[in-house]
Amino acid sequence: MTPQRPIVTALACLLAISSAHAEIKVAVIQELSGTGATAGTNFKNGVRLAIDEINASGGILGQNIAATIEDTQSTPGVAKGLVLKAVDDGAFAVFGPTFSGSMIVSMAQTRKAMVPNFTGADAAIITQQGNRYVFRTSFTQAISMPKLARYIATSLKAKTVAILFVNNDFGKGGRDAFVKAAASNGLTVAADISTEAGLLDFSAPVLRAKRSNADVLFVYTNEEESARCLRELRKQAYDRPIVGETTLTGQRVIDLAGAAANGVLAHVGLTADAPIPAVQAFREKFEKAYKYTPDHNGLKGYTSVYLLKAGIAAAGKLDRVAVARALHGLKIRAANEPGVLMNVAIDDNGDLDRESFIVEVKDGKQHVKEVLPPLTRF
């Protein structure tokens, strides 16, 4: 043995050990307290479930995923600081935040560091800034609102609509997109009611909605506010159709609103009640792990990890830039990557397209009324 031999052997051993312990570090930065706690906790639990599954089946390219979980406290300033910390710590990908306001102020950090950033935030502006590293886990408002407005105009045969929205980035983005979509579907906005995040008493906004005498009320607020609003609508015996987007019929809102949620309609991109076997299997696993029914954010969190997995598989290597590039324009078939649950296509902005649903709440449960096909052909 030459003198160099032991050194080479030792180095090889070290390399082997380090490679055996190599992990894909990801940061889960979610609203685990404050007004976004319901959404953030669901998303985080979905991510954890997916990571556990992937690690149990051998990881991605032979490496396990290691997640750090942080709480934004539903505050944009905290979210920005946490994303910066995650980037400094070398995260391969960031999952969150879910609040649009937090996402808008923090995504510049992941963009600068070229770190893929998956978000459940809905505000349209997030993917309209040319950021090549931001990827949605649900529809943008620019896609979901036209679908909803068309449903209100055609299926509900409404002529006028009252809008009750929350005055934050999420609410204003949705309101703007809906107003535009309403106009192009021949709907007149009879009342445009702004409410504050964290509002406890909805008696005045609901009264304004009643006074407008609109054919339909469109409610676009965060989870807890949605529940309080639905309770107040029932208290004031509101008798016109109440429609919303995904949040309004989330299981958490239904649980909080109780009987007041019955009869509410919503367009949802993802629902644990979707009549799709893969979604039902996910729901079962989630309920077993966390003892409650996931809402759409649980599905977003779960599928987002599989989007990353598909991106890495398409890139063929653990390279952030290559993965981000591979994700743009990627069509992922559920047959090839069951974790995405449904066929999904990601466009050049990071927005995605897949099937969606019109649901109605009956007896405290979502029931799918209609399945709307994706715009993309697979």
Binding site: L32, S33, G34, A37, T38, T41, N167, I193, S194, T195, E196, G198, L199, L200, D201, S203, A204, P205, L207, R208, R211, E223, E224, A227, R228, R231, R234, K235, Q236, A237, R252, D255, L256, G258, A259, A260
Partner: protein, 291 residues
């Protein structure tokens, strides 16, 4: 006009709950000179106490009764002995700061130890809706309003019509004279803290079904109750009811006719107006200060 009536009903219900918490403010102030800025959290804590007991399978009223007993022990006796008694010897400001700190600690303890998410809370009353003319009223609203008014009036009657209540009032008005008259002053002060704890439990029982149980639910409630107490008159228990109703109704009217964004600001505006024009509150009386 119809809208005003509908807003008035909602405002009265909310205002009556503010009044319950405000009554606690005025009682503690009168009896011991304590300003408790954790009053909102004193409502939040029993809410979660009742939730925890209900999750063990207890009926709501049994959970309420046990929570009241625990609240008297912890939020009454514990608060008095642990914070109010030692700090009042130094002055009012240390109590104010300590209760502000206590509020933050309680919020975070519940957030970390129980849950950060809002929880549904069962209601004592059904959710049937009935109409008075064109005004829709739910049994929850009517029941809450009736229960809160009964509690405020009952507390007033207890203070003015019973020997113990009069002794508590005597202590509140002049501690030294009460001592000379043979009244057990420390016991009467404890009774006041105990009544405050029970009122907080009652407010929790009434408000949580509508506002949902959440660790930060006391933040807004405590502030509104403080405004209500000052508007009505900090040294007058009846003032708490008046202040609560004014805050509840005015914020509802402002939210409907101006903007929901100004809902919280209107309580502050009324508060400022009252302390500028009538510093002792609408029903308060000027108190001479020894120099």
């Amino acid at each position: 006009m119809l809208d005003l009536l509908q807003l008035g009903v909602s405002g009265l219900t909310t205002g009556s709950i503010y009044a319950l918490a405000a009554l606690g403010f005025t009682l503690l102030w009168q009896a011991s000179g304590t300003i408790n800025f954790a009053q909102g959290e004193f409502v939040m804590l029993p809410t979660f106490g009742m939730l925890a007991l209900s999750s063990l399978g207890l009926p709501l009223l049994a959970a309420f009764a046990i929570t009241c007993a625990l609240a008297v022990l912890v939020l009454g006796w514990g608060f008095k002995r642990g914070i109010a008694d030692p700090l009042l010897q130094i002055g009012v400001m240390p109590v104010v700061v300590a209760t502000l700190g206590l509020a933050i600690a309680l919020r975070n303890a519940v957030r970390a130890g129980y849950t950060a998410e809002a929880q549904p809370f069962p209601s004592l009353f059904g959710d049937q809706i009935f109409h008075l003319g064109a005004v829709a009223i739910t049994l929850v609203d009517a029941g809450t309003l009736a229960a809160a008014l009964a509690l405020v009036i009952g507390t007033q009657a207890f203070l003015t019509r019973t020997v113990t209540g009069r002794a508590m009032q005597a202590v509140a008005q002049n501690t030294e004279a009460a001592t000379v008259l043979g009244i057990d002053v420390p016991r009467m002060i404890f009774y006041t803290f105990a009544v405050n704890a029970i009122l907080a439990c009652a407010a929790a029982l009434l408000i949580a079904p509508t506002y949902l149980a959440k660790f930060d639910m006391g933040e807004s409630l405590g502030t509104k109750a403080f405004f209500a107490a000052v508007i009505g008159g900090f040294n007058n228990s009846r003032g708490a009811l008046l202040g609560g109703v004014i805050v509840g109704v005015s914020e509802n009217v402002a939210a409907a006719y101006v903007s929901a964004a100004y809902k919280d600001a209107v309580a502050l505006a009324v508060f400022m107006l009252v302390i500028l024009l009538k510093p002792h509150g609408l029903l308060g009386t000027p108190v001479g200060r020894k120099v």
